[in-house]
């Protein structure tokens, strides 16, 4: 099988690995790079559990080939608590009980982070739109929306 090199930064760290050509970013991250925070929920672009941020944009890692991310900066939930300090989104989800089974949570956090990175003070409608590609089956949307809004507030307080 054709193995090819890929090189990108994962949560700020330079990574270079050999993968099988045509491997999805999801499989490359989970099976080769040891980052299992993105989850494979549907493999068809419907559930959002595999969401990661590639060069500042939210992507579905299950439908992205790893080779197309050559040289990119990739962010996942596993890299969010830099230096052991939880990101405001992580803190707000814990405080607001905005996770139950937890399977959708890492993807949900990436979708919310992609929003807050571009829109630090989102409206409720902005939040709903931002997580509209992420399915939660324990039906926790309301606590999740509240947590994202709470994280945005705590972010702006920190900045102020």
């Amino acid at each position: 099988m054709a193995r090819v090199p890929v090189q990108f930064t994962l949560n700020g760290e330079e990574r270079a690995e050999f993968i099988e050509s045509g491997t999805t970013l999801l499989h490359a991250l989970r099976d080769t790079m040891g980052d299992t925070s993105p989850k494979g929920g549907c493999q068809q672009g419907t559930c959002g559990a595999c969401s990661v941020i590639v060069d500042g944009e939210l992507r579905l890692s299950c439908l992205t080939l790893a080779q197309t991310c050559e040289g990119a900066a990739i962010e996942t939930t596993a890299g969010l608590a830099a230096g052991g300090v939880l990101h405001p989104l992580q803190r707000a989800i814990m405080d607001g009980f905005a996770a139950q089974c937890g399977f959708c949570t890492p993807g949900m956090i990436m979708a919310a982070k992609a929003l807050l990175d571009h829109t630090p003070n989102p409206t409720r409608e902005d939040v709903i739109e931002a997580i509209s590609g992420n399915v939660c089956r324990c039906t926790g949307y309301e606590p999740i929306i509240a947590a994202v809004l709470a994280a945005a507030r705590s972010n702006s307080q920190n900045a102020g």
Binding site: R59, L60, T68, I131, G133
Partner: protein, 266 residues
């Protein structure tokens, strides 16, 4: 067998690579990688082209040319494209819009391909490396491109403000898969009478289709409840809606006139 990805700098070379069969052209991945993930073993490899022209938008003299690799998110950010951005925003969630391309949307089978419905109403020209064809011919498969021909761009006249309308109906809010979508391009004269009308429908057949009878019924009418009655009555003519887990053909046929009326009066 490994599904290797071959990357080419030109569309011509990518097209040549597709000739051997089995490999599929990779745009945003939302159709082809999905098919592979779901076990479609007829796909034996991926081919892509990285020509920057595929990712550019050129807007001059009232016409815009959008490269086939341009994503829905990029279109959604273009204020100079007027209400066309509504159709791009209607596709998927944020991650899908960051990936899904114009070229891919042209090939998306119902219930996907909402943006292609808008393109049909906009009467776009579909560009290949060596020829152009009207969207209607592209959809009908007339002079059809064989599997290895790659769409490079679409181009169209940017509609005047207020002339283009788009509606995607889905059951999950704010986003969900289409029950149906409707795009209209309507010119009215100074007195408010319809001069020309192009109406395109999604999910009302396997591919986007024109509602020719409703278009004819609309010309000369005013966009009032009474004025559009004949067009609303004719909107289902010639449709053969799909049945899928989102909705039955019966349901789609029943709600089409309701949504069409709302779009015209809204």
């Amino acid at each position: 067998m490994s599904l290797s990805l071959q990357t080419f700098s030109t569309v011509k070379d990518a097209s040549a690579a597709l000739r051997s069969g089995g490999a599929r052209y990779l745009g945003g991945g939302t159709l082809v990688v999905r098919a592979v993930n779901e076990g479609d073993i007829s796909v034996t490899g991926y081919v892509r082209a990285t020509d920057p022209a595929l990712s550019s938008i050129d807007h001059a003299d009232g016409r815009v040319r959008i490269g086939a690799s341009v994503t829905m998110a990029t279109i959604a950010r273009r204020r100079d494209l007027g209400d066309v951005v509504r159709a791009a925003k209607a596709v998927g969630g944020p991650a899908i819009r960051n990936m899904a391309t114009v070229g891919g949307n042209l090939h998306a089978p119902a219930p996907y391909g909402d943006f292609a419905v808008a393109l049909l109403a906009l009467d776009v020209t579909v560009h290949f490396t060596d020829r152009d064809m009207p969207m209607a011919d592209f959809i009908a498969g007339n002079g059809t491109p064989s599997g290895h021909d790659i769409v490079t761009a679409v181009s169209f006249a940017v509609p005047p403000a207020g002339s283009f309308r788009f509606l995607k109906v889905s059951r999950v809010k704010p986003k969900g898969v289409s029950v149906l979508s409707i795009a209209t391009l309507i010119d009215t004269d100074g007195a408010g009478a319809v001069q020309t009308a192009r109406i395109a429908l999604g999910c009302m057949a396997e591919r986007p289709m024109r509602a020719a009878a409703a278009e004819r019924a609309l010309v000369g009418s005013r966009l009032t409840r009474e004025g559009i009655a004949a067009a609303v009555a004719a909107i289902g003519e010639g449709t053969d809606p799909i049945t899928d887990p989102i909705a039955s053909a019966w349901y789609r046929a029943e709600v089409l006139p309701v949504h069409f009326r709302r779009l015209l009066l809204g």
